[in-house]
Symmetry: C3
Subunit: 405 residues, 3 copies
């Protein structure tokens, strides 16, 4: 009895199941079958394995970007009529550093010498023109789209004589809402500014570290003088802002974007085949404009910031800047691939599995379409009728198949 | 011989293999089999293809967000007793612009007129109260949790008469650690501030670009006056801060979060079925509080910054702000789907493969459970015994199966 | 006729197809077969299900990080010879808050009292030394790598007597390009600064919210005094900067990185098995240096910013800082897993499918390698020759197989 069980268990290890196959010799079906199989094999080998690099294991790139701007601008004789000013990096990059982004001022409206006091509200704001109805100035009321809190008085406008405006407590004088962004842009020369982009990346799975400065160009003289272009200098990490704007393609020339500002994405793309020389793993730069140039409401990109100071009496004052400019967003993306037996095996395995689909399709043709379908059906199927078969009517309709072969 | 090989090769193209099938007519097994198959087909068609949109190719959304705040606040008569101040955007947004985030000051503690000098250390700091032991003030020692470097002297406290504190070199006077964040918050009116969120997105794979301002609402009047709500204005891109805080659901009312500050995520969700009209691809807004309201140690969100200035003598001074407020983090997410024959084929293919699982389960029933299992086993299996079979005992136990059929 | 169709339809529900199997008893093939199957089952159960947690559904972590720095530094007697200064958080963190990052100044070069005027250009800039050729100073020309716009004059250099430099309109005096970053770093004491990292995360799919302060250590005393290390305090969320730099491993000691600055990533890794107690879901901290320490061109990390003020005459002046320091980038990553029957079923299902690969491999051995291959081939294949078979030559070469069995 024990030896019986033992032999059964052992027997399990010495046996082998394989499906019985009906081998059909037929030109029609054979050709269809092989054609389908070729399509599938072509898809698996050509597309999934070779084109999509199914023999490689992949890893996403990770990295950090830092940037350094160079360039200087001068502005004068506009908006306020007399505002001579030199702009260097610490002036036009606001805030001075960001994570994965940087902003360059290209245009501005300045309101100098503001202090907390009472003055007329900006007449551009709806609901502050009290020429006809002084009662709209309600003491203590805040105008949310405006600059301050009403005192309740309705005063003569100095800026727009003949009109009256509600008096407000605010940073006075207020920014003049009728002032438009200068055109051409005050810092239009920003087109000549350059940005040096330093990008260190890693494919952690493969332990590969790279920089966007390949060894071949890593000498100080070249780096100080080169400027990126899509030709010979496509690895130079120093970019003229005008080149970046031009490469966004979006009908964007610098002149237009400089006036109202905008948002541009700089994509650093690392698609590396690490089966080759690691020195061939170099970045590709792409540029896209992220905002749309033709917006109806508040187009472009601008924001307000202030420089605070004290006057000779110790009163807190500020210079308010409405800065228009280009916000550059830096994105590091890409994948590295390296040969690995695992994904190759999985792709071949799933390819074999998909091959059975060819058989299913051919079966349909063989069993339902071809003239000799009854012959094939007889050969392919072995009929077994159990005691509880639903056979009453079957027997009448298919008398030939009801017996057990 | 050559024609022989040739004919063999050609023969390969004109043949076709299909598994031989045992076709069993049995109510019991048939019903189980069809039921299992229906479950699998239901899963594949109903869940994987229809519900999970298995007939679509997907792409992740990419985009940029910019924000514009509006609103003005006034503060007075608190902490220092007399600090009348008007706060507009350039005052309460610190830093003036960020990438994918913005901060709104809702409360603050101000320490005015600081300059580098010697003064008493803040008695809130542990280890600086030298009332009992003047020796704890060690010249040159830095108190890392404190505000400066000890001079070695132990002086009478002016702020807390009757106590002595170590004298330090620091920005003097120091912030008073015993001052608590004002409650209600100084800028509680920030609840009425509005933020205009501009979001341009793209599904690069499908070349679809969208904005969070659909054509239907893209007129200046509507956009200037609308305010987001979850009803009729769920596409309005102008949000009252109070609405955002209220929608986080986390028992958060604005009054509480304004006092200590907090972190809130604004999710702009673009789940688009691009098989339909592209104009139906509109964003959905979601709001979540990211910090927990009930923290023991340093709850909320605050940080310190300074305004630097010079007094009449040219001495550098600064106004130190401890700003409490809400940090809003903007996240753009979502996927766009469009019909594609490839994922549909893959889903159907894998569905067919899973169908064989029904056969495996039924085989177990047929071969091991049913009474007629021996009949089925005979029909399903064709026994082949090779010369090296492990058959000595087998022949005794299963004499009927050992022959080659 | 109707009953006929009806019975056929009903018949479909009471039938069942199963492949006919050739059951081979052979020690050689059986052992190979079982060995292959064991490998596959081992892979599926051991690797895919147990090791890779194939029985779990996964979700990516989402969360927010906020940071709070503590520490104070003093600098004196360097670069300008006399610059005593106390640095607290609002001085050395620039900008005061960022999203997912923070910057700590560790070294700096200060240029005080700049105002817009005319002065000599920095002689470090190429093309401004006009000792030999005064004509290189072209009126109105901007030197993009320089500090301002040429007036056209060539003047005696005050900084470098005996040399002449082009006069420029700029923020004067310009930063001296020959000044090197102080070594040791001015704020080398930043090694003792601490940062408190608050991280709230969520696994949205499982509704699990966690913080990086487990209940076990959530008492104020411990949190105020603990410092992170990789031993007993690996959950303490307060980090000394020196510990972070040391843990990057990259031969980085604080002394070196403090001089030129650098970029360091702080990874907060939440890999949680949510089948266990949720209290065991705690973060792991990892630190990596993202820039490379040995760069040729502009190594480290630095940027420029200014403090603006007015002098007694109301002239706008500024203090220019070139700040070197460490940029810390905070990354929250990780996955949470929880038992789910769906992925388990899919893994078992695909495991069963892969089992058929064993059969394919054994078939090759049985049909092409073994001596008894002709016997097996006869048993496995049922030959069917259709009328349109390509059989002319076949019949001659394989006469035994051409009949229908």
């Amino acid at each position: 009895m024990a030896s019986n069980i033992c032999s059964r268990v052992l027997g399990v290890f010495f046996e082998y199941d394989t499906p019985k196959i009906v081998h059909i010799r037929s030109k029609k079906v054979g050709v269809i079958n092989r054609f389908l199989q070729l399509c599938i094999i072509g898809y698996v080998i050509g597309y999934a394995i070779i084109f999509k690099k199914g023999y490689q294991e992949f890893d996403n790139v990770r990295g950090a970007v830092t940037t350094k701007l160079k360039g200087v601008a001068r502005t004068d004789n506009f908006t306020s009529g007399e505002d001579f000013r030199i702009w260097d990096v610490s002036d036009y990059v606001v805030p001075p550093q960001e994570n994965g982004a940087f902003f360059v001022t290209t245009n501005y409206i300045v309101t100098d010498g503001q202090q907390i006091a009472t003055c007329e509200e900006d007449l551009k704001i709806p609901g502050v023109n009290c020429t006809d109805d002084p009662n709209i100035c309600v003491k203590g009321k805040a105008i949310m789209l405006g600059n301050g809190f009403m005192t309740g008085k309705c005063i003569e406008s100095v800026r727009h004589p003949g009109n009256k405006a509600c008096e407000i407590e605010a940073w006075c004088p207020t920014e003049d809402g009728f002032t438009k962004a200068p055109n051409p842009a005050a810092l239009d020369i920003a087109r000549d500014f350059t940005v040096f982009i330093k990008n260190n990346i890693e494919f952690p799975k493969f332990g590969v570290k790279r920089r966007n400065i390949p060894k071949s160009i890593n000498n100080q003289t070249y780096l100080q003088n080169c400027r990126f272009d899509f030709g010979n200098n496509k690895l130079c990490p120093v970019f003229k802002l005008e080149t970046i704007v031009g490469a966004t393609g979006d009908n964007s020339d610098f002149e237009n974007i400089a006036v109202q500002g905008g948002v541009i994405q700089i994509i650093i793309n690392w698609d590396c085949n690490l089966d080759y020389n690691v020195e061939d793993c170099v970045p590709e730069y792409m540029f896209r404009r992220l905002d749309s140039a033709d917006e109806v409401v508040s187009p472009g990109y601008n924001f307000r910031y202030s420089h605070y100071y004290r006057d000779i009496n110790g009163t807190e004052k500020r210079t308010l800047f409405k800065a228009y400019g280009i916000k550059f967003i830096l994105t590091v993306q890409g994948t590295g691939g390296k040969f690995n037996v695992m994904p190759l095996a999985l792709n071949i395995g799933s390819g074999l599995a998909i091959l059975s689909v060819a058989t299913i399709l051919c079966d349909i043709i063989v069993l339902y379409v071809l003239k000799a379908k009854n012959l094939y059906r007889q050969k392919k199927y072995l009929e077994v009728v159990s005691d509880d078969a639903y056979k009453d009517l079957k027997e009448e309709t298919e008398p030939n198949d009801s017996s057990i072969h």
